[in-house]
């Protein structure tokens, strides 16, 4: 009975910490929650890749709605810009998902990783 209770407490701690970190990043940086929650679901909660990705989208959607309420009150939401970007993004996302099947991500992923680092350095040293 004691072991079972310990296991349950352990799981609650996992849910809460994973959710907190993911939600926090989503709110603070407007992104990145998914990058945290997917490996979390796979490694700590032992879900398979497909379930983890699908479930992560629902989780991040929840966090995003909450974050957007705050960003809205903070009056930083540019709806017109978002609409314009989303128009391109929805088409691009559809194309990207189809490309995913044809190309193995390996080299492209590393190239974009490098781009991200370059962009990161630019942003850190921006005035």
């Amino acid at each position: 009975m004691k072991k079972l209770e310990k296991l349950k407490k352990h799981k609650i701690f996992l849910y809460v910490s994973g959710g907190l970190v993911s939600g926090f990043l989503n709110g603070l940086f407007g992104s990145g929650g998914g990058t945290v929650i997917v490996p979390f679901l796979e490694e700590f909660l032992d879900r398979d890749e497909h379930t983890s990705h699908a479930t992560a989208i629902l989780i991040i959607l929840g966090f995003t709605i909450v974050s957007l309420i705050f960003y809205g009150f903070g009056q930083v939401l540019d709806w017109r810009l978002a609409l314009t970007v989303s128009a391109g993004g929805v088409v691009g996302g559809f194309l990207g998902a189809r490309l995913l099947k044809k190309l193995t991500g390996g080299t492209i992923r590393k190239i974009f990783g490098a781009f991200m680092i370059i962009a990161a350095v630019r942003m850190v040293f921006s005035k």
Partner: protein, 124 residues
């Protein structure tokens, strides 16, 4: 107001995230660097842009019964506090500082993408 550049940025970022790279962090630097959009606005756009793409994806996932609601609900409920904390913090941080902090975060995300193992290779 030029709309071509935002559409192209969204399109390019969409392709990359559609391929599973970057986890949504590509659009914000693109808007910031190429369109000189301030950090809070760029982050807000990324959040808004996620909604339609997530809804569409979820339709497919719900149909395929790929979502584990048993873990999704507790994680969302406990994570909301984090989302509230993170958002509130973002709003009180000055845009220039938030941009630098985001850059630091992006740096680690870039390293993560470079170090990510190709799962198909792992299975072999």
């Amino acid at each position: 107001m030029n709309i071509l550049l935002p559409i192209i940025s969204g399109f390019a970022a969409g392709i990359i995230s559609g391929m599973g790279i970057g986890g949504g962090t590509i659009l914000i630097p693109a808007l910031s660097i190429f369109l000189s959009i301030d950090q809070h606005t760029a982050q807000g756009v990324n959040l808004l842009y996620f909604i339609p793409t997530a809804v569409v994806a979820l339709f497919v996932h719900i149909k395929n019964k790929a979502i584990d609601y048993k873990i999704a609900i507790p994680i969302i409920l406990s994570g909301i506090a984090g989302a509230i904390g993170g958002s509130a913090l973002a709003l009180v941080i000055h845009a220039k500082l938030l941009k630098k902090l985001f850059g630091g975060f992006l740096f680690f995300m870039g390293i993560y993408e470079i170090c990510k193992k190709d799962k198909q290779k792992e299975k072999k």
